[in-house]
Structures are given as C-alpha cells and as structure tokens.
C-alpha cells in the first residue's frame, strides 16, 4: 500500500468512524459556509434585484432629438445599441395641443405597451387603451371636463396655418371612448393619452415623436456607457440619464452592498472563531492519540499533515453542504425581500468551498501545532 493511500485511509477513517464527533464539527463548518455562500450570493445579486426594483420607478434614460423631431427609425436605431436583455421598455411620446369642447388640452401619443413598461407605477382607474379610438385621461383633465370611464368625447386638432397650403384651415376630429383615468400625482394627470396612430391620424403627420423614454436594466456605469454610445453613434439622437432615478439607485446599491459585505465579513470572523473553538476541542480530546503517534515514531510534520488533511476534508464537505444550503437561504431571502428568485452563480461554488477549507485548515493549525508539543510519555501515562 502506498503511503498516500494509507494517509487518505486514515483521514477518511477518522471522519467516518468517529461520526458523532465529526458531525458537530461538520455542522459548525457547514453553517458558516451556508451563511457565507448565502450572503455572497445576495451580495452579487443585489444590483440585479435592486435594478429590477428601481425599474418600477420609471424610465432612467430619455432620448431627444439633436434636430427638431425624433423619427421612430432614430429611436429603433438608438435602442438597438442596448443589449436586448437589458431593455425593459421603450415608450416614444409625441405631444400635441388638441381641444376638447373647444378647450385646449395636451395630448400624448404613445405606444401603450411601451408606456406600461416604462411607467409601471402609473395607477389607472379602468383600463389602458388597447386599440385605436380609445383614450386614457389624466385625473386633472377628467375633473376639469367631468369625464369618467366609458364616456365618449370628441378630440379635435387644428393644424398650424403655416403647415397647410389651404386657404381655409379645417379641424380634424376623432371620437374617443374613455377607457381609464390616470392617477400619478404628477404632471402626467394634465394630459390625455392616445395611441400614436390616433394622434398621427389627428395631426396628419406620421413617424415623428418628441422624446422616447427608456427603461434599461443596467448599473450606473453601464447606463452612462450606453448613453454615450447612443449619442455618438446615432447623430440625430441625444441620450440623457434621468439623474434622480440613476443617482438614487447607485446610492442605495452602494450602501446596501457595503452593508451586506460588512455582515459577510462579521459572519466570516464569527465562523472562524466558532470553527477554531470546535477544532481546538476536537484536537484537545485527541491529545492522547497525538502522544501515541509521536511515541511510535510520527514526526510533528506528519501529525500536522494528518490533522490538516482531516480539517480540509471536513472543510470540503462543509463547503459543499454550505454551498447548497447557502443558495437555498439566499433564495428564501430574495423571494421574501425582493419577491423574485435569485440567479445562481457557479463561481460561488469554488469560492465557498475554498474559503471553507481554508478557514477550517487555518482554525485547526494553531491547536494542532500546540498539540504536537505534547510529551508522549506524559500523555500516555494519562498525566
């Protein structure tokens, strides 16, 4: 039998045949590894989770034209710069002055599905317009005109005289059915919302918008890079970040990550103390065995190698167990705090296992070193 085989046989026998003792040590290591793996998973997933949460606070990028108006082609071209997975929603907006009962009101034409994605916080009493001929009215406009869901109203538009060659300017008008009342607490309540097609039909101009709102799932640095790339590559488009959203996101994220990191470091330190105490107890109860090994000719080096080997094997098992339990722990935290599942990061498997093995080996090294100082004669006599 080779020496290495005997070495592995001894360290596995020590773990397998002293199961009840080792389970306590293993649990202590596994709990530490679980918390470490769980907190690291959360630490790395917080930006994604928080980014998703911040997407509920509206668009974080605005596209405007460097010329007079934006074309929908410009918007498409700008959006194509962003990784498709990062685009949460795109809502082009065109604003025009229209009239309801001959009183001027601002109408916003947009793609409703995009607006829903970029402004998930909008509260709509009733339904969003689902087809042409349907209108969503801001709460202030509804109050002013005593409008409610289900009412029908005519919206008319008068083109600028300079925009037409006709001597007599003719109003265009469309009858709309009101499907919902928009309540945001902001200036959005002063507008009426219709599909871009309806507004184009009303105005007679096609394919132009004033701005486009984008909701992009990315961190501050990436957003700045996207905005720069769009502004540089699409000459007619200027991309700006909505500072109040991106700055708050960065601030909260930095603080939260720092907090999680701090907790991770504290837990790691506590785990080391816990594992150290456990390993010290494990080594102390085996002083007689160490004395015997020395008596039959073991060098200090080989005793240290055997005990460190046992510790590392324990660390490996504890690390594997901790990785699995840590992911379950992180998943539970994520589901309960953020309401969504966590993404699995394979890199955390070797990190957790390595950390677990290193912590266990380091924690056991000191008590083992002191145990090798035992006088075999005294230990074997039981003194």
């Amino acid at each position: 039998m080779k020496k290495r085989r005997m070495y592995f046989k001894m360290i596995t026998a020590s773990l397998m045949r002293r199961r009840s003792r080792m389970i306590v040590a293993l649990l202590s290591i596994a709990i530490g590894a679980t918390v470490l793996s769980g907190l690291l998973t959360i630490y790395y997933d917080v930006p994604r989770q928080l980014g998703a949460q911040f997407r509920n606070y509206g668009a974080n990028m605005i596209l405007t034209s460097t010329e007079e108006n934006l074309s929908l082609e410009d918007v498409d071209q700008a959006v194509s710069v962003i990784k498709s997975g990062d685009v949460v929603g795109v809502a082009p907006y065109r604003y025009e002055n229209v009239r309801i009962n001959e009183i001027p009101v601002v109408a916003a034409g947009t793609q409703m599905s995009g607006a829903k994605s970029t402004s998930p916080y909008w509260s709509v009493e009733g339904e969003w317009p689902a087809q042409n001929g349907e209108l969503m009215v801001g709460a202030k406009v509804a109050d002013k005109f005593r409008l409610k869901q289900g009412d029908s109203i005519a919206v008319s538009f008068t083109p600028d005289e300079k925009d037409t060659n006709d001597e007599v300017v003719v109003d265009s008008s469309i009858d709309f059915k009101i499907t919902g009342i928009l309540d945001t607490g902001g200036s959005e309540e002063e507008y009426v919302y219709m599909s871009l097609d309806d507004l184009e039909e009303l105005t007679g101009d096609k394919g132009i918008v004033n701005i486009a709102e984008l909701s992009v799932s990315a961190q501050s640095d990436e957003l700045i890079a996207y905005a720069d790339t769009i502004s540089n590559s699409v000459s007619s488009v200027s991309a700006r970040l909505v500072k109040r959203v991106t700055a708050s996101e960065t601030t909260v994220l930095t603080k939260l990550q720092a907090l999680v990191l701090l907790v991770t470091i504290v837990v790691l330190a506590l785990t080391m103390i816990c594992v150290f105490t456990t390993m010290a107890a494990v080594v102390a109860e085996r002083r007689k065995e160490i004395g015997l090994r020395k008596a039959i000719g073991a060098s200090d080096k080989s005793i240290i190698a055997e005990f460190v080997g046992e510790s590392m094997l324990l660390g490996l098992l504890g690390g594997i167990l901790g990785t699995v339990l840590g992911f379950i722990f992180a998943q539970q935290v994520s589901v309960n705090v953020f309401g969504s599942s966590i993404s699995f990061r394979p890199l955390l498997i070797p990190i957790t296992i390595f950390a677990s093995m290193a912590v266990t080996a380091l924690s056991s090294l000191l008590p083992i070193r002191s145990a090798t100082d035992v006088d075999p004669a005294l230990v074997l006599k039981g003194e």
């Binding site: 020590s14 045949r17 039959i296 074997l380 039981g382």
Partner: protein
C-alpha cells in the same frame, strides 16, 4: 558492545531524584525485567530508554549512539527505527482496525505493507480479528495487536511497560508466551512490571528502589532457547 548501556544515569526533578546514578547493560537478544514499587523510577527509566525523555546526568548508549545528547527530532527517528513500544493501556487508535493500527507503525517508519502487517497479526494469533476495531477486541487481543505493532518494523529492542497490568490471568499467559516466542527469535526485551510472576520468567531481573538499582537477579532456571551465557 551491549545493545543498551546506561552509565551513571540520573534524572532529577527539583529535589527529587527519580533515577539516581543508575548503570545498566542490556545485551542483544537478552530479556530483562525491571521491577520495583511505585515511584521507584521504573517509568522514568523506561521513558529514557524509550527516547521519550532525557537524563539530567549520565549517558545512555543505544546501539552505540548516546541518546542523551540527541535532539527531540533525532530521538523520534531513533524511537521509530530501533524501538518497539508496548503499553499497559494498549494505546491503539480507536478508529483504525487492528490491521490499520499495525500498518500505522509501518506508515511512520517506511511504507505500509498490508501483507507484512497481516503476518505480524498472524504471529500474535489475531489474523481473524484483523478487520476489527479496538472496541470490538478483548483486552488481551488489544495487547496482542500492540505487540504486533511493536514488532512490525523489526526493532532492535522491545520496551514493554506493565504489558500484563490490565489483563486477566489467561491473557497474561498468552502475552508471556508471546514474549518467550519473541525472545527465542532473538528479540531483545525490556519489560517493566509489578508482577513477580512476569518478572521472574525473564533471563535477568533488576529491582529499582528510590531511583537506585537495589538488586539484580539472574534467572538460572530460564527456559528460553537463548541463554544468558550465549550473549556474553
């Protein structure tokens, strides 16, 4: 040259002289027993001969090497290469089988050899108990495993400290018979014991009292193959 020679060896702890100017020679192949009451210095002498302690004064020559001057690291090597230890409490590693306990001594000495370890267990009549853990063996069986472990690296000398102290009469006989067999094969034995019956079967008996060598008796009725005269 004697295999083991103690020249004016003293071990002093403060005011206490655990060994006081003791001189002793043990020849190769000889079987010597050391007797004496508690506190007479038997264990101290055993620890010094076994390279687990150093004398305060004097020289201890083992196979020509003065072990009283060696470093702790060298003493470990000497103990591993030249000495086989047998303990009163057996001291087996409780999570290793009988066979693995024997192989443990090989592991620290050179290369573990399962076949050779099995043969050692056969010599002590325990081949059928090779895969048993110490907790599954009787006291006598554990002591026989301890003997097999002491023998496995073919040491120059076997030191047994109260080898029958924890055994019943039947097992005591088994172990003494085993010592006879080892002696007949040429193994040098130094046995520390309280038991006169065990001490008297040796070729030579040394009695210690208050750290001094008080009596030396040569066993003229010794029945072993190797007679004391043969060694001189």
């Amino acid at each position: 040259m004697s295999l083991l020679e103690l020249k004016n060896v003293s071990k002093i702890y403060g005011e206490l002289h655990a060994l006081d100017n003791v001189s002793l020679k043990v020849e190769k192949g000889e079987w010597v027993s050391i007797m004496g009451p508690s506190g007479s210095g038997k264990s101290t002498m055993m620890n010094i001969i076994g390279c687990m302690d150093k004398p305060t004064k004097g020289e201890v020559l083992l196979d020509g090497v003065d072990i009283s001057k060696e470093s702790s690291k060298n003493l470990t090597t000497i103990r591993r290469d030249k000495i086989g230890l047998i303990f009163q409490q057996f001291h087996l590693v409780n999570y290793l089988t009988a066979l693995e306990n024997v192989m443990l001594a090989q592991y620290y000495h050179s290369i573990p050899d399962e076949k050779e370890a099995m043969e050692a267990l056969e010599r002590v009549g325990l081949a059928d108990r090779a895969k048993h853990l110490p907790s599954q063996l009787s006291g006598g069986e554990q002591q026989r495993v301890c003997v097999a472990r002491a023998l496995i690296n073919h040491p120059e000398i076997i030191l047994a400290d109260e080898p029958t102290g924890n055994l019943d009469e039947a097992n005591e006989k088994v172990v003494v018979d085993l010592f006879h067999k080892l002696h007949d094969e040429g193994t040098t034995l130094v046995v520390v014991t309280h038991d006169p019956e065990v001490a008297e079967v040796a070729q030579r008996m040394i009695v210690l009292r208050s750290g001094r060598l008080s009596k030396e008796v040569v066993n003229r009725n010794f029945t072993g193959k190797i007679k004391l005269e043969d060694n001189n």
